[in-house]
Symmetry: C2
Subunit: 276 residues, 2 copies
């Protein structure tokens, strides 16, 4: 018998994956959680029926949410990841030698627990001495820690359920305040094919709050449309002006110095989404 898992990414389209094993299915206080073994992408974490990460393509998303801001900042020492309970963004962030402390604030402790047990390839950095894991509300945490971080990454689920508040303008204001005076913020902002309104709204908010706002994209096969966006807000450093000759020695599978700038070159229809 063949078992297939289907995520209906919209009401009209889905991705369907052959699965060979179910490691975990259950419910936390916040969401449904499943950890399954797929033929195409290996182990896959699913929250509320939406693919969050897979062992075989997670490198794209985690490298791009992390190295783009980390390499834009000249000396990122204190890092905050909101969401991202699988640990992938933190794993990439602490590859940077400048990092002294990285805090992961995940609202759902069960996600961290499942990732630690079943996804060691992704969660391996969560036991690092530099990493502190806090199971609490990221919105509250950002409000309570002002002028503290060099880089903040918002590695959220889709803008429904527990993550809805992470796409609000007030939240971005809190992020601005929890960054140091030259801090940088990045959030995952969904697909330019399927979520144009969301991207426009988030980009407009970030653009109003931060001196520098930029959108960049990458290809993630297991996310809706396979094409994904990130919105960056920066107080001082412009990623388009990064001296990429100084980016050196990062072990990566997707990100590289030339891509640091090329990922900001947007197709015409994406430029139009954020055009004023």
């Amino acid at each position: 018998m063949e078992l297939w898992y289907t995520e209906y990414q919209t009401r009209e389209i889905g991705i369907t994956c052959k699965i060979s094993k179910t490691y975990y299915t259950g419910k936390s206080k916040f969401q449904d959680i499943a950890l399954i073994e797929t033929g195409q992408f290996g182990k896959m974490l699913v929250l509320d029926g939406m693919v969050q990460t897979t062992v075989k393509d997670e490198f794209v998303y985690h490298e791009m949410i992390s190295h783009v801001p980390m390499c834009t900042h000249t000396n990122p020492e204190k890092i905050l990841v909101i969401g991202g309970g699988d640990g992938g963004a933190i794993r990439e962030a602490i590859k940077h030698k400048s990092v002294k402390k990285a805090v992961l604030v995940e609202i759902d402790g069960k996600v961290v627990e499942i990732a630690k047990k079943h996804l060691p390839e992704i969660s391996c950095a969560l036991d690092s001495e530099k990493v502190e894991v806090k199971v609490t509300d990221g919105i509250k945490y950002a409000k309570e820690n002002k002028n503290t971080f060099d880089v903040v990454m918002v590695d959220s689920t889709d803008p429904v359920g527990p993550a809805a508040g992470l796409f609000d303008k007030d939240f971005y204001k809190s992020i601005y305040e929890c960054l140091k005076e030259d801090g940088i913020f990045v959030a995952q902002t969904e697909s330019p094919f399927f979520h144009k309104d969301l991207i426009k709204r988030v980009f407009d908010s970030v653009d109003r709050i931060f001196p520098i706002a930029r959108l960049y994209t990458c290809s993630v096969p297991t996310y809706p449309s396979g094409y994904w966006s990130f919105t960056m807000g920066s107080k001082k450093y412009d990623p388009l002006l990064t001296d990429i000759s100084k980016i050196d020695g990062l072990q990566t599978k997707y990100y590289n110095p030339k891509l640091h700038k090329a990922c900001f070159v947007l197709p015409e229809f994406v430029k139009n989404i954020i055009k004023k």
Copy 2:
């Protein structure tokens, strides 16, 4: 009742689309053909169970297979498209004012017929005075027309069935010979996530035959993994040296002058596929 069409892109993964109407299903001498209405992407052409093009995302593929070589060449007058019976690549090619003649060589006349009837948005250029449609074997045609074309685009189906020969080294030699002395050739070469061996093989062949070989990529939601590659072989012009300030006035939704170079900046894992 809901009807869904599923393409199993590999043995382990598929894309599934809600459909509201079936305009055509049938068999030509070469393949199964279906033309369906999907909720997410509008009308969709399916050949042998594989999505070829949809009204809502076709612009990405057709613009990128066409404008990248067309803008790399300084004066493309005679154009050949092999495959591409839907007419999308030709439609983009004749946007360039330098074009005097564009020949479409499609082995399956039924595809042209269906596209003309059901996909006028894509096939509209096939009735242009500059366009000649030949229903014949592209391999044979390339062999018989030496030193003729400025740009050749191979807009094929996947490397099984009628298109298998379009991924052979001997075919690329014929293409080289049917190009003029400063001609450029581009072929669609599948997904960097799913078809690494094919990309490596094609790129190696093209790199041996042409002085300049380049790989570039774009995001096509309805193709396997959503991430797609094109291999370019050029006798004289290097796309990385194109004077993009001269690219002007093209009406596009994906391609633009900055992307002309950015699309050649490859993620690390893609660079590794074609590394010697």
